[in-house]
């Protein structure tokens, strides 16, 4: 079947907070209804659903709650937040293959007020089997028990290799908080920070990450709706094309604790998604007007910039310091404030912002967006104008 047929026709979200005061199922339903309403559709139109691991919602519960007649397609991508954009790939594949006509992708979690993500996972005795990763057994017994420590192990090698320090991360954090400061939906709306604030924040994993290198813990939900382009003509919003969407599980790669690839300073999964996307779309790094890059920690922005070819390996710190990721830079990054500034909805809020940027309706709108990259590490997509 010809490419470019699946399009994103709706996005929806709840408020982003530290205590939603309601269930994760309710958050999911609110965001899905908002996305359907944005599109001009109702639950009666939905026959496909996709999310990714570490979401506590079951499709059967959402079908029951929303009054969906039947799902002919349902999937759960692996790899936690790294798999976020895999939902776009699955939705695209389902719609273009005829498995479903209208697919909803979602993420809904109270990951601040309930099970805190940034806290120790020492009690995660389940070993996270089936959750898209196999690392727990090799980390927890050594006291490597938080996402910050898991990621810092790789990041320390990167800093050491290129002669950088934690201070080189400050411009990333300052940029994302500056974007959030003018985004009313952001938790850190009107709260920009300075390099000094970053350097004065306490160590989380020394000498790699300070508090202001870490994404937030957030309560909230985001959803999107995918259908065929022909159907989109009758709907409320101008459709956003999925030029291509892909996943990556390279040899010897691992979710979060990516320690076994030969060169841990190279963002192997991001290199793989970029290769696939560029081959399939003919789009290259110079063709993007905006990039939504998964920032669980500041270092991830460096990794994404290098893996996707916006700068060369080892040059990301200079690239960021010289303002290239700002709104008037060569590749504006996450104008919603990303996970550090807006909220940590595990990449799903980055997808929503990518859609807004292509539509031209974002708060911090980049001029004339033809292509937006949305990259979560083990999954990524090129969105564009129809």
């Amino acid at each position: 079947m010809a490419r470019g047929k699946a399009v994103i026709v709706g996005i929806g979200q709840t408020e982003f907070s530290k205590d939603s005061g309601r269930s994760e199922q309710r958050l999911a339903c609110e965001s899905i209804l908002a996305a359907l309403d944005d599109a001009g559709l109702t639950p009666a139109d939905v026959d496909g659903m996709t999310t990714y691991t570490i979401d506590n919602n079951e499709d059967v519960d959402l079908v029951r709650a929303l009054g969906i007649e039947n799902l002919t397609f349902s999937s759960r991508v692996g790899h936690g937040g790294g798999g976020a954009v895999g939902t776009v790939a699955h939705a695209m594949a389902a719609v273009e293959s005829g498995l479903a006509n209208v697919v909803v992708g979602f993420r809904a979690m109270n990951e601040r007020s309930e099970q805190r993500f940034g806290q120790s996972q020492m009690n995660n005795t389940g070993g996270a089997k089936g959750a898209g990763t196999g690392f727990i057994e090799w980390s927890l017994p050594l006291g490597s028990a938080t996402p910050a420590v898991w990621t810092a192990i790789q990041a320390q090698r990167y800093l050491d290799r290129y002669g950088l320090t934690n201070a080189d991360f400050a411009p990333v954090s300052v940029h994302l908080r500056q974007m959030a400061a003018t985004n009313p939906n952001a938790w850190f709306y009107q709260q920009p920070i300075t390099v000094e604030d970053h350097q004065n924040s306490r160590w989380i994993a020394e000498p790699v990450f300070r508090l202001l290198d870490c994404c937030q813990e957030s309560d909230g939900a985001v959803a999107f709706v995918v259908t065929r382009e022909e159907r989109a003509r009758d709907l409320k919003q101008p459709p956003v094309a999925i030029r291509h969407a892909t996943q990556a599980v390279p040899f010897e790669s691992e979710t979060v604790t990516n320690y076994y690839v030969e060169d841990v300073t190279r963002f192997e999964t991001g290199v793989s998604t970029a290769k696939t996307l560029y081959e399939h779309t003919g789009v290259g790094p110079a063709d993007f007007q905006v990039a939504m890059l998964y920032d669980h920690f500041t270092i991830a922005i460096f990794w994404h910039l290098e893996a996707n070819g916006f700068c060369k390996p080892g040059e990301a710190a200079d690239f960021v310091r010289s303002g290239e990721i700002g709104l008037s830079g060569s590749i504006p990054v996450s104008p919603n404030g990303g996970h550090l500034g807006e909220a940590y909805i595990h990449g799903m809020n980055l997808i929503a912002e990518g859609v807004r940027q292509v539509r031209g309706t974002a708060t911090n709108q980049v001029d004339d967006v033809e292509h937006a990259l949305v990259a979560a590490g083990m999954s990524a997509a090129v969105l564009g104008r129809c």
């Binding site: 057994e137 017994p141 050594l142 192990i153 320390q156 320690y259 076994y260």
Partner: protein, 143 residues
């Protein structure tokens, strides 16, 4: 590291059917690696077959216990009271060509350098278990 603290450390896992040999070895203070019988390559984390020659035949072989620091970090927050004060987490490149996460002990963070030579030792955990640890070799200490 203080003995009082170290015996509070969580006991290591039993492991899966594919990895149990590693933890069984650690329990008796032997660092074991999974070596392919076909092509002799070592692999970690453990898996049922060799990804290079696809042989399911392998042996648990005692490793030299020597290696170098690939990277390291000092976890600060949240505190984990069951671990020794100021403990370091380090990724170790073992001589046999595999990489293993562990703790780096008997050294101040300011003195750690990627590439420095380290050797294995074993620390007690809760329930009479053992856990693999690394410390600078004598040569590294003198250097």
């Amino acid at each position: 590291m203080s003995d009082v603290k170290s015996v509070e450390r969580p006991a290591p896992p039993q492991g899966s059917r594919d990895s149990a040999f590693f933890w069984e070895g650690v329990g008796r203070e032997v660092l074991l690696g999974q070596q392919c019988t076909g092509c002799k390559r070592f692999r970690h984390p453990p898996r049922p077959l060799c990804p290079h020659c696809r042989s399911f035949e392998w042996k648990a072989v005692e490793l030299s216990g020597r290696g170098t620091v690939h990277s390291w970090v000092k976890p600060i927050h949240p505190p984990l009271p069951m671990f020794p004060e100021g403990y370091l987490v380090a990724l170790i490149d073992l001589e046999e060509g595999i990489r293993l996460l562990s703790n780096l002990c008997e050294i101040e963070p300011d003195d750690v350098e990627n590439g420095m030579s380290v050797e294995v030792f074993f620390a007690p955990t809760r329930d009479g278990g053992r856990i693999h640890q690394f410390r600078p070799t004598q040569e590294a200490r003198r250097g």
